[in-house]
Symmetry: C2
Subunit: 223 residues, 2 copies
């Protein structure tokens, strides 16, 4: 919270490869104003330490055995909400980017960033500013593009009228067969719509889609 000016920014490094941890750590320690509290090799350790040390910034790898970075990020934001998470990974596919952001990551860097950028991202993160790797930024913008007014931070992509209709029914607890009955279409078609909705919203199943609809205000308590 109070990292204005001269105060030290504390960092926690999470990566299952020791080489990466040590490399990043060695570099960050040369940076004035940055202090690496610890580097750990698993999400579980990260959670434990984050709860204890409450680092300003967490550098998080995504692909790790046992608990992946997305899950670790989600839970970390629960136990230590004020820690800012920077994803540092080599993947720039949608299936990594969007879940990570939705899990609460602030910034998303690819491992080919040069050192000064990394240090800059850490300092920015401590101030709550996000940094997206250009390639990632491109994807995010592309997703945002085509969305209508997008109050604040809406769905990432626009749903068609029909899809919205299906989403509302999902968010009302309807099964595929019920939706088919109500819309007077085949269940296969419903499944197609549902699949499209899931991928557009970047969620994994209908329950998450329903939650999304409620959280995002598509649904209201009085319907």
């Amino acid at each position: 919270m109070a990292d204005m000016g001269g105060e030290t920014i504390t960092v926690l490094i999470v990566d299952d490869h020791a080489v990466v941890r040590q490399g990043v750590r060695a570099f960050l320690e040369t940076q004035p104003g940055l202090s690496v509290l610890a580097d750990v090799g698993s999400g579980a350790e990260a959670l434990r330490l984050a709860a204890e040390l409450v680092p300003d910034v967490v550098l998080m790898d995504l692909v790790m055995p046992e608990m992946d970075g997305v899950e670790a990020t989600r839970r970390l934001k629960q136990v230590s909400p004020r820690s800012q998470v920077i994803v540092l990974t080599s993947y720039h596919q949608d299936e990594h980017i969007f879940p990570a952001i939705r899990a609460g990551a602030l910034s998303y860097l690819l491992k080919d960033v040069d050192s000064s950028e990394l240090a800059g991202a850490v300092r920015k993160a401590a101030r709550g500013e996000a940094v997206l790797h250009p390639r990632v930024a491109a994807r995010v913008v592309q997703e945002l593009h085509g969305a209508r007014q997008s109050a604040a931070f809406n769905p990432f992509t626009e749903l068609s009228e029909r899809e919205l209709e299906v989403l509302r029914l999902i968010a009302d607890g309807a099964s595929n067969s019920e939706i088919a009955e109500r819309l007077v279409i085949s269940e296969k078609t419903v499944k197609s719509h549902v699949s499209n909705i899931l991928s557009k919203l970047h969620v994994l199943d209908r329950t998450q889609a329903a939650v999304f609809a409620w959280r995002e205000g598509v649904m209201r308590r009085d319907s």
Copy 2:
């Protein structure tokens, strides 16, 4: 809305058995102040007519071919919210009662009610007052019993602490295996909890449970 004093109460009868329809109709027509607009044999017809005629009260059978009464009630309340639905059926099992009430039925009568009670229930319904058959009322009270403060019209039964914990995770979009991981218990145990939650909330699957949690305010948009 404006059925004070002398105005006529309009009624729609929905039942797949012609005999029942005619019997009920014949009786209601002897009642002063009541006017039967129509009697229909299917949910689909009921929806069409209700949208057109906007009856004050709809007498709804539950068990019907094609669209059952619960589904018909749900959709009827969408197309004609001011119509009050009285369920008139011969079943008093939970699996009929609770879905019907949740679908928007106001009153729930068993077919052994005597005529004067039926007429009374119709008049009460027109004023927005509910009537539950004694046997049904007993079940509902029994369900409500043990519930804590139950602001307004809460869950029908109290969930245990652990179940609430699981419900929150469901309402966050978590799968059984994720829940198991997070709570550090086996997936079998999670399934047990989920099953108990579903039956206590009288819903059919996890998505409906999630919707319930959001609708009922267990979940908030900022978690």
